[in-house]
């Protein structure tokens, strides 16, 4: 066979009110088949209420090498958390 079937990433909403979550990938010729395959491969025991599939090639991911540059600066910005601020106990829950 000359050409391989493209890869799709599969996201499933497991329960009402939850976000779709990445569960794995499937090969399929198009999005319609990817949905069918995802249903057969990832929801054989009622794991899903809804499925998203998208071509893996359409995903732009951050490079793990950039991890520090991207995420480290927030470690010093503790004033973004509510616990940074002193509120007297008498004020009550806030």
């Amino acid at each position: 066979m000359s050409e391989n079937w493209p890869l799709f990433e599969v996201f499933i909403r497991t329960r009402n009110g939850m976000a779709h979550r990445h569960v794995g990938s499937v090969h399929a010729v198009d999005a319609k088949m990817a949905l069918q395959n995802a249903r057969d491969v990832y929801t054989r025991r009622g794991e899903g209420l809804s499925i998203w599939v998208l071509p893996s090639a359409a995903i732009t991911a951050s490079d793990p090498a950039d991890k520090d540059m991207l995420f480290e600066p927030t470690a010093t910005k503790i004033y973004r958390h509510p616990t940074f601020y002193d509120i007297p106990d008498e004020v009550g829950h806030m």
Binding site: M1, E3, N4, W5, L7, E9, H22, G24, S25, V26, H27, V29, D30, M33, D40, V41, R44, R45, S56, A57, I59, T60, A61, D63, P64
Partner: protein
């Protein structure tokens, strides 16, 4: 999330990189999962590809011996369960191929290696399923041994493999229970049925013990795999765990383990068992088991006979896309 683009890794020089390797090992030691786009030693990548592919091939080849009995299952309940089990094995193969693909190899390459006889799969699937009791024994012992092997793999250092194993272990638990239930029914049935169960146990017991791989003294891959936290227990440790768990289950069935040397050691709390015929193991792995040729012929036939379907599906998808694009172009004019 694994974009294929990022997985097109630059061909790395085989020169070792002690600094990166040390950093990698420190992460593994700290139980931080390694993800596909993280730097990893080439040998780690190769080991994982080999192991995950072997595992995936085993799931797919393993569909054969059991599929053999779907049409002859003794009741609708058994048929539905067996069908679901075989379907699960197919699903497990797919999860595993997908996790191997995150390491930069395609499923097609892996399948080609299997069909060319260049990749291994579990030796156990080269034994025949002669009676219905074999289906019970496979579920109880083969899946039982697989679970014993796979539970520690849920903590494997490579994220996608560990996550696939968590899913697989959850599903395998039904496989083992359905197998044991078949054995229990036979063991409580007629004299002939119980004899059939005993016969299946006699034939499968030793090959199942071989599933854990060569003894630690002869295992090539154990040391590095343990250091990289791909493996958590040695082959012999897992084999012992399996024997300890399984012997009482056999006794509950009223069946006898076909091993004259089997005895409980009060001092260690373990079941001691007899010598494994490693010559047989090597023969089966090397391709000369009872059904190796049959299994490979079945895989090759499935692959060849499905080729036109794969090609037609792709051609149809391309045609549909072209037509949709043309329709959009006309609508735009």
């Amino acid at each position: 999330m694994y974009t294929q683009a990022l997985n097109n890794r630059e061909t790395e020089s085989p020169v070792s990189d002690p600094e990166r390797e040390a950093r990698f090992q420190a992460r593994v030691d700290a139980e931080i999962k390694i993800e596909p786009n993280d730097w990893m030693p080439e040998a780690y990548r190769r080991t994982l590809i080999r192991q995950i592919a072997q595992h995936a091939h085993s799931e797919i080849v393993g569909m054969g011996p059991e599929g053999n009995w779907i049409t002859r299952a003794p009741s609708l309940r058994r048929k539905a369960a067996l069908l679901a089990k075989v379907q699960d094995e197919g699903g497990h193969g797919l999860y595993l191929y997908a996790s191997a693909e995150t390491l930069g190899v395609s499923r097609e390459e892996l399948v080609d290696q299997l069909l060319a006889g260049k990749a291994k799969y579990a030796s156990i699937f080269n034994y025949p399923t002669l009676t219905w009791a074999d289906i019970g024994t496979i579920g109880w012992l083969v899946d039982g041994a697989a679970i014993m092997n796979q539970i520690p793999l849920c903590r494997c250092s490579f994220g996608p493999y560990a996550r696939a194993m968590i899913r697989i272990c959850k599903e395998e638990s039904f496989h083992q229970r359905q197998g044991y239930e078949i054995m229990l029914t036979l063991a409580r049935g007629t004299v002939e049925q119980k004899a059939m169960a005993q016969d299946a146990l006699n034939r499968w017991w030793w090959p199942v013990l071989m599933m854990f791989g060569p003894s630690d003294r002869d295992s090539q891959h154990t040391d590095l795999s343990m250091r990289w936290k791909i493996k958590r227990f040695t082959n012999d440790e897992l084999r012992q765990k399996f024997v300890d768990a399984t012997v009482p289950q056999a006794h509950f069935l009223g069946l006898e383990i076909p091993d004259r040397d089997l005895k409980f050691d009060d001092a260690t709390g373990h079941w001691d068992f007899g010598a494994i015929d490693w010559a047989e193991f090597k023969r089966v792995i090397a391709g000369d088991g009872p059904c190796n040729r049959q299994r490979m012929a079945a895989r090759r036939a499935a692959h060849q006979n499905g080729a036109w379907v794969r090609e037609a599906a792709l051609a149809y998808a391309q045609k549909s896309r072209r037509r949709a694009e043309a329709a959009t172009a006309i609508a735009a004019e």
